[in-house]
């Protein structure tokens, strides 16, 4: 419990309190404000809705579902109910209630709430998130992520496997096919982890530009992706395909712990890789337009 709270606090903007907690945990170095900003404000936004929402953005139905969970516990949802910090802090609070409540019936309810939170709103996305974090974070936050993954796995071991796939994942639509849904929806889907099975950060897109030898135009992620497609759709599709293929074993690496959740993510990544490969093999020239009826007006040329 204490560990979860301590790890929650470290996802916040660093101050003296964070420095003290980092030292207590024996993490390497101290939390550094610019590193924190780079990681959490610019690369890996620590909100469940970004990873399990169909839009791949803050808010939306995914956040409403998380807020609903708070309400079901008779708590006022905080301003950002799906922020990693508040979710971890809530988990710690539920575990404390379970530990301290003398009424066995209520203790059982606390335990069920804790398990629901763990599976529905934490494990449903955190393994993918922490995998990406381990790849791009500086040493301090990489160690933090490792600790969090370990703690998460330990808790899963304690509460037992989920009965069903989390609702976020059950409700997640698949990645749209640009040939029927339009390129705009396809690009948005690629950037929505729960649809594509992959997490694409700004740093990843910069890597894509480097790997493919294309120019990197600075902007938000969709703008970058569009500009890569605009320069060379074929290379971009190929790069994305290999990225998606690499995610499959990454997800399955935690299959023993996360079970169906890991398999869900791996299947999504595999489907994405398959679709990308199909698109790449299309005889169409790089300038072929994948727009069709029902697509948005901003359908772009791939």
């Amino acid at each position: 419990v204490e560990l979860f709270r301590a790890l929650a606090v470290l996802a916040e903007s660093p101050g003296p309190g964070q420095v003290r907690i980092a030292a207590t945990l024996g993490l390497p170095g101290t939390p550094d404000p610019p590193q924190h900003t780079e990681l959490f404000a610019l690369q890996l936004y620590p909100y469940a809705s970004v990873y399990v929402g169909a839009e791949g953005m803050l808010g939306g139905e995914a956040r409403d579902r998380v807020a609903g969970f708070w309400r079901a516990l008779r708590r006022v949802p905080p301003h950002e109910p799906d922020h990693l910090t508040v979710l971890l802090a809530l988990y710690a609070a539920l575990a404390e209630h379970e530990r301290d409540d003398r009424d066995p019936a209520r203790r059982l309810l606390w335990g069920q709430s804790r398990k629901a939170l763990l599976w529905e709103h934490l494990a449903s996305w955190l393994f993918a998130y922490l995998h990406k974090l381990s790849a791009i974070a500086p040493p301090f936050y990489r160690a933090w992520g490792g600790l969090l993954a370990g703690a998460l796995a330990a808790e899963i071991g304690a509460v037992g496997p989920a009965v069903t796939l989390p609702l976020h994942l059950r409700r997640a639509p698949p990645l749209p096919d640009p040939r029927t849904a339009g390129a705009g929806a396809f690009l948005r889907g690629l950037l929505a982890p729960v649809r594509s099975g992959i997490v694409l950060t700004r740093a990843d897109l910069a890597r894509a530009a480097r790997d493919t030898g294309l120019g990197m135009r600075v902007g938000e992620r969709r703008f970058i992706l569009e500009s890569l497609f605009g320069q060379d759709a074929g290379s971009t599709l190929a790069w994305l395909e290999s990225e998606a293929r690499a995610w499959v074993p990454a997800h399955l690496a935690c299959e023993r712990t996360a079970g169906d959740v890991a398999r869900f993510w791996a299947e999504r990544a595999e489907a994405t890789a398959g679709l990308l490969a199909e698109l790449r093999r299309e005889p169409a020239s790089p300038s072929q337009q994948y727009g069709s009826a029902g697509t948005d007006a901003s359908a772009i040329t791939l």
Binding site: L3, A6, V9, R20, P34, T37, L58, H79, G146
Partner: protein
Amino acid sequence: MDLVELNRRVREAREAAEARGETFYPGPSRIHLAAFPPKERWSDWVELDSKAWPARVEKRFMLVPTTCFNCESACGLLAYVDKDTLQIRKFEGNPEHPGSRGRNCAKGPATLNQITDPDRILYPLKRSGSRGEGKWVRVTWDEALDDIAGRIRGAIRDGRANEIMYHVGRPGEDGFTERVLAAWGVDGHNTHTNVCSSGARAGYHYWLGLDRPSPDHANADVILLISSHLEAGHYFNPHAQRVIEAKQRGAKLIVLDTRLSNTATHADHWVAPHPGSEAAILLAIANDLIRRGRYDREFVRRWWNWQEYLACEHPGAPSTFDHFEGVLKTLYANYTFEFAAAESGVDEHVLRTIAEIVASAGPKLATHTWRSASAGNLGGWQVPRCLFLLNALLGAVATEGGTYPNAWNKFVPRPMYLPPHPPAWNELTWPREYPLAMNELSFLLPHLLKDGRGRLEVYFTRVYNPVWTNPDGFSWIEALTDERLVGLHVALTPTWNETAFFADYVLPMGHASERHDLHSYEQYDGQWIAFRQPVLRAARERLGEHIADSRQVNPGEVWEENEFWIELSWGIDPDGALGIRRFFESRQAPGRKLGIDEYYGFIFDHSVPRLPDRAAAEGLTPLGFMRRYGAFEIQKRIGPIYAAPVPQGELDDVRADRFGRVYTRAPAPPDPNIVPTGSPEPDAEGRRPVGVRVDGEILRGFPTPSGRLEFYSRTLAEWGWAENALPTYIRSHVHRDRLAPDQKVLISTFRLPVQIHTRSANAKWLDEIAHTNPLWIHPSDARELALRTGDLVRVETEIGYFVVKAWVTEGIRPGVVACSHHMGRWKVGDAGQRQMMATVALERNDRSWVMRRMEGVGPYPSPDPDTLKIWWTDVGVHQNLTFPVHPDPVSGQHCWHQAVRVRKAAAGERYGDIAVDTRRAAAAFREWLALTRGADDYSPDGTRRPYWLMRPLRPSKGAYRLPDRAQPARVGAE
């Protein structure tokens, strides 16, 4: 990795930190990454230039915190300073500010309009024609300072110190200027408070010894508000956001307001009583709590001064709590729901329903009233007294979700110098007829001057506009244009206003981002300070420049007040002979002027607990920390200070009076927080009051004479108001029994939430949203008068009339009309605000005045292209001119509600017409004066005023003595 071991390590570290009284977990950050720029990027923040869209042009900003100055909430602002041009491009919320938490109302961002206002005053001006003629010449600051300082020096040297007066609207700072006046030895502080909040303050003060409440809205189960205050007035943003949080949690919100205010629209129960009947409703609820035994007996027994009450009012009766409870049941027995329903016009079952909700709150009852009922009615000061009675019955005092005294949630750090109390008493502000007035009788000044009670050699108006804001503005003009009464009028203001037109000097002062100030306000159960600073000074200093004077960075020659007062004080006492200069000298470099960095640096270094450590943890000086973040939270969760045991070290040669008030010879320990509180007198042998004995323990108690909550005010009883010594209901001057059949009540005290009194005049974004003040009138009344929305109506008061447009709405109670005081700005000539001031013609025939609107506003060319887009012409009507003064004889509060006659305007009557006879205004002044019970006749101890009551710029104790009881002040034939 051993997770169990890590868990253990963290737990032990937390327990060790908590054992040291420290907080281990910083808690969820108040910074939402999605909403605010991370603070570590404040020195170089990149955004796309919205004006360049669709091109993607990056703009680099430096983010500098300051504090909003558009109401008294002191919300945090973050100024975005363009690094290329060093201009401020926008203002947003400061997430580091504990009160506002990164949020602002519309007024905060509109600071940008104010600093770029094409009509603002940029240079010192001196009148060149007769006063009020509208002719001005630009002068240097030195010329102005020499003239003003010379006059003040002369007045002090000649023993005419009472001819110096500083009249302030919103102070926006924590006592700097009061200390300037104290350093001059002048009792010349004059506030607007008696047209604002002194009625409410009085009600709280008699209970608590502190003059404001601090409701813990966020944690309340029931929030009971009288008037529209929280959504439209003081502390709008910090309180409103916490009210909404409570509502989200399921708390009930009850609003008593005759008018459907913005707050009322959010209420679970909106109750619209007849104006002035609020106290009757509150006492009916109290009676219900008492009758049904639903109050907190233990709290009442321990903390009310019931023993003192029984001893004074029931001598010979047993001094037991049981007996008191029996008496209590009888005291309010007549305040039945039937009675309250008859008085208020609200259905009895509604009153029973809200009483039940209040009773269910227990200690989680947050209550608040500030203006409206307290400021509108004769006896309005009893409304907060009756409201707080509910808290006192339920024990909802300084509890989580209850109501705190303000001073416990406020921190005023001790400055470098604290000049002594001035040895003088100014009867122009504190006339003997009003010994219990909570604040200066500022709005009576023209009458007191004309009455021959004194004159003013130098009169400062500072961000204040009495001609427009106060009632009876034409009497103000008469006084201000009479140079025998006012020798020199200096208007310190960022913008033109109706009072500045009648000044001799108009001196440009800075807006929120152009000045230094320090403040702290009660907004939740915690203490914080916030620092206002000239943004461009801080920005340029970050770039390595040294800025010695805010005029170097402000537009034109706009100055900040701190530097102005220091300079002026040196001008008054250049060689130190008057003993003034020493309070404005550097300690680091004796003999030189005190600089702003040294002044605030001292405070932050020495008087703000934990700030130096917090700053050091970031490698900053305390001043550097405040310049960087703009605010600092000193402490959270203050809790019930009254119940804290008095430490043994403060107990020496202790004595207790028969009611348990405890006195000590031990000196008070030094306290860095100098927040004003009541100051109960020492015992007869000079021991200071230190606490109160409760069930054998010596606890801190309240700063009242008894040390307890004063259900019974011996002060009121001894000073001639025995019938009002308990919380009670006083029938208002607009009670239905006092109205003629054809009269209605006019409510004038409500605001428009996006406007800011005088300073909002040229805030274009705000002006576009709200720029007029129609008369709210109920459909049933409109039918009777054959009125439709938009028709012109003539509203007749005791001293004149105004013509305004009607707005027919069910949002007002039948028999009551309402018109916001926020509108109706005017100018006579060219100078002035062209976005919100109508051009008017003023005609005077002896003491009969007529104002006619010549022209509304319209588009005009200026450096701001938006001024060509002004589409509105109507700026409302200045109703306050037609109100006579109504000083409450106890609190001194001007009672704003008016008994008026409303009729359709006749042919020839035009929108904005105003007519007033100031002879009738003088007669009204005398009528209300006759209600008073003056110190000459009622003082129990030969003093002008109870010494323990709070008073701005408290004089020395000797000045409290009445000078000559044989010759009481008399009102002459004005």
